[in-house]
Symmetry: C2
Subunit: 346 residues, 2 copies
């Protein structure tokens, strides 16, 4: 392109400006704020851009403007299907925009989160999406220093840092347990793996209902610090059957555990839902297909990711949302695994 022809490897804005016969600034403005440029200039710049195949250099943009087009997404785990859904929502939402997500995972570790945020800060992100509402004070400080829109996703709660979109985990827990009680189960147990803050709150919902009904019993609560998985679900069910052989139903932390628990029942010949009711949380695809199908609390992870991005983009455009915190709610998917009365299957 240039006479030296050595260092320059890409088409730059000056190339475009030269080709269009305008100054670099005009070319720049034609691309970023077309309404501030004469129609004639705009057309010539556009033509030059197409002819030369110009694509802006994000590093130069970021350096000059002290703002990148990166949207930082902080999640605790990539393994978990729940977060995969969130990611999908985020990726779909940035599509067609000049923004790109950058994912980091905290592995459920608070200090690690602070370090990761400090590194993210050097990128001057356009926006940040963080999981949950339990950030440390230090993390909150770093985030607010970033000077960009921040959305807390997955949960709702008081005291949002900036914006928030999710659902009430305690209410979800309550709904699950009430459903089982309505179905006629009394000895309702709680199975929980990886008791992170959200799982804790679901458990709080469970306990609230059980205590209110005078049905609470420590023997009915089985948890582990291990990450949730199908196999852990099976083990928790096994432990429960030892500790409380008369348990009639389980509310599981999430659907992985619920499905593992179901399999354990099948291995032991325990009939679900007649002898044992099961309710999960999150409503994974598989819960609607298993035999029997699994009753679960459906949360809207994809939408949370998608709308979180939309909220950030709107905020960048100066449109702050009316309400900073959005509760997407949840839906009880009433399926076979909690249908005590008509229970006929395995």
């Amino acid at each position: 392109m240039s006479i030296k022809g050595i260092k320059k490897q890409f088409v730059t804005l000056s190339d475009v400006a030269e080709a269009a016969g305008v100054s670099v600034v005009t070319a720049s403005r034609a691309l970023r704020t077309p309404e501030m440029v004469s129609l004639a200039a705009r057309d010539r710049v556009d033509a030059a851009v197409r002819a030369l195949g110009y694509v802006p250099n994000p590093a130069a943009q970021a350096l000059a403007s002290a703002r990148s087009r990166i949207i930082g997404v902080v999640i605790p785990s990539v393994t978990n299907q729940v977060f995969a859904d969130l990611l999908r929502g985020v990726m779909d939402a940035v599509e067609g925009t000049p923004h790109a997500p950058q994912f980091v995972n905290t592995r459920f570790h608070g200090v690690r989160e602070e370090d990761l945020l400090r590194v993210m800060a050097t990128q001057r992100p356009a926006g940040m999406i963080v999981t949950g509402i339990d950030q440390t004070e230090a993390s909150r400080a770093i985030l607010s220093d970033m000077g960009c829109p921040v959305v807390q996703v997955m949960e709702t709660g008081p005291d949002p840092m900036d914006m928030m979109i999710g659902c009430d985990q305690v209410a979800g827990g309550r709904a699950a347990v009430r459903h089982l009680l309505e179905r006629g189960y009394r000895r309702v147990a709680f199975l929980g793996a990886r008791m992170d803050p959200r799982a804790q709150r679901r458990f709080a919902g469970y306990r609230a209902v059980m205590e209110a009904e005078g049905l609470d019993d420590p023997a009915l609560v089985v948890t582990t610090a291990e990450p949730s998985s199908y196999s852990v679900g099976g083990r928790l069910m096994a432990d429960l059957l030892s500790a409380a052989p008369d348990a009639e139903a389980v509310f599981c932390n999430n659907d992985d555990v619920a499905l593992g628990a179901l399999f354990e029942c099948q291995r032991r010949g325990i009939r679900v839902p007649s002898r044992m009711g099961i309710v999960g949380f999150n409503d994974l695809d598989i819960s609607a297909c298993s035999v029997p199908t699994i009753t679960s609390i459906r949360t809207h992870r994809y939408d949370m990711g998608h709308r979180a991005v939309e909220m950030i983009l709107a905020a960048l455009d100066g449109d702050r949302p009316e309400a900073p915190v959005i509760d997407l709610g949840f839906t009880l998917m009433d399926r076979q695994s909690s249908r005590r009365l008509e229970g006929k299957k395995t």
Copy 2:
């Protein structure tokens, strides 16, 4: 920091240099090539870095060096558990390095992939990881123009662009079918969803074995363009039972389909494995826990992601691997769903 105190929001290298009483270049060298700096200067720079909490600005680095620390990862889908495992391997491997992955998904779309690569190119990535071996000519050209290490993952094949790590999909398909034949199943069907190139090659393995045995029959092949899922697996099994009621076993495209097929059998009261054998592909967690457990071809997705990153980092250090293509192989996980003789479960 500076007298103006207005624009400067972050600690820069000049701040560090000033605090350490050295020039900016020296500070820069102390960080990047410590051996070229006197011990005294090095220590003072290190101290200043810690005292001021200096973190380099990646945009400035990228602009000045025409190289970012981003590793581009191109996958066809984020939904799929298989790619989630790959991502996890990648994320774990970059941890502790100055590199960061950037994910884009092609949605199994070739032209889309080209566009995405063109955008990635503007970032001057440190390395690229791409899925599969079926890139278009244009994509290959863009990738090679990036002037960075490129690793093709998931499969092995001839003609690697640069480096390659995966396994032989055709061989995997053959192994699955041979296993079923050895177990005594004869009318072995193929169930396939989203017949992407990898699925096509597994199918090629299936067909090769069936033809060699003189057992091939078009009625035994049921596929759909829909993405694979548990429910699609159920539907494929239903379709198979209409087209070939005498089918004795199925080799499924992947474990989602296999599990869906199992559920469909359970709904219809068809005994697995005695009446219907099932083998999946990829070996998801759930396949080891379901009732019955599912025989599957285990592939090493996590390792592929992890080692792909390691290969890139090594190449950046000038250590090209001995062999540019690594075959990680696969393992047949022999479980209950194909145990025809001892089959007793549902």
